[in-house]
Subunit: 133 residues, 2 copies
């Protein structure tokens, strides 16, 4: 597998037209999945070099599981795959934004999005959003 080019310094990294992902000390970048049709933020996950490469090559969102320490094709067992319509990178390229067509729920709880609870007022109480529960 070809390696990605290394990150550049400062503003050069912000303005380069080359993909130069900036993996952290654990070899990871953050990956946000957003529904390409509704713009709903679905989940946040992690990618190592292989996961990013596979996502680019297959068009299916593929992540790195920090807890299981393994590559993970999203929806491989549940069928809740993410077809990747677009991949955007942020200024210093330590995060990517995937615009995806989500099949079924993105969340392992079967909800559409993992972000199904919001903070109430100024306290630490959460309320559930959405119609499902």
């Amino acid at each position: 597998m070809a390696r990605f080019d290394p990150p550049l310094d400062g503003a050069a990294q912000d303005e380069t037209r080359d993909l130069r992902p900036k993996f952290d000390d654990d070899g990871l970048i953050a990956a946000i999945a957003q529904d390409v049709e509704t713009d709903e933020v679905l989940m946040l996950a992690w990618m190592n070099e292989e996961a990013l490469r596979k996502t680019m090559e297959t068009g299916r969102a593929t992540y790195w599981s920090r807890s299981r320490k393994t590559i993970w094709v999203k929806g491989e067992s549940s069928g809740h795959i993410q077809e990747v319509a677009d991949i955007l990178v942020d200024c210093d390229q330590d995060a990517v934004l995937l615009k995806v067509r989500q099949h079924g729920g993105a969340c392992h709880t079967n909800r559409k999005s993992c972000f199904y609870r919001r903070l109430e007022g100024s306290g630490t109480v959460l309320s559930f959003t959405g119609p499902d529960r």
Copy 2:
């Protein structure tokens, strides 16, 4: 400063109505900022316990800078503050989604969003999005 309650195990964490942020080994959670009006994803940053607490208390997005190792009130020097309209947490509470009213550009390059480049086709060439550059 009061501590947050500790995370629960498995499904209990997914369904609790208590804010129980799951900080990683570096004491951090990921924070996505999304424009509350346009649903555009603006940036990804990090929060430690103090940053999350300050965000909740002040209604201004406050992050932890991994490079500078310091608390950072977004827009403190640039004026490009983020008024927090809503805070959502994900299933295992290791990420938060801030719905914000963004003043000026969210990105340090002055662009509205940090995600201003997309991957072209299947290669590693990036193209710039948006009208600004």
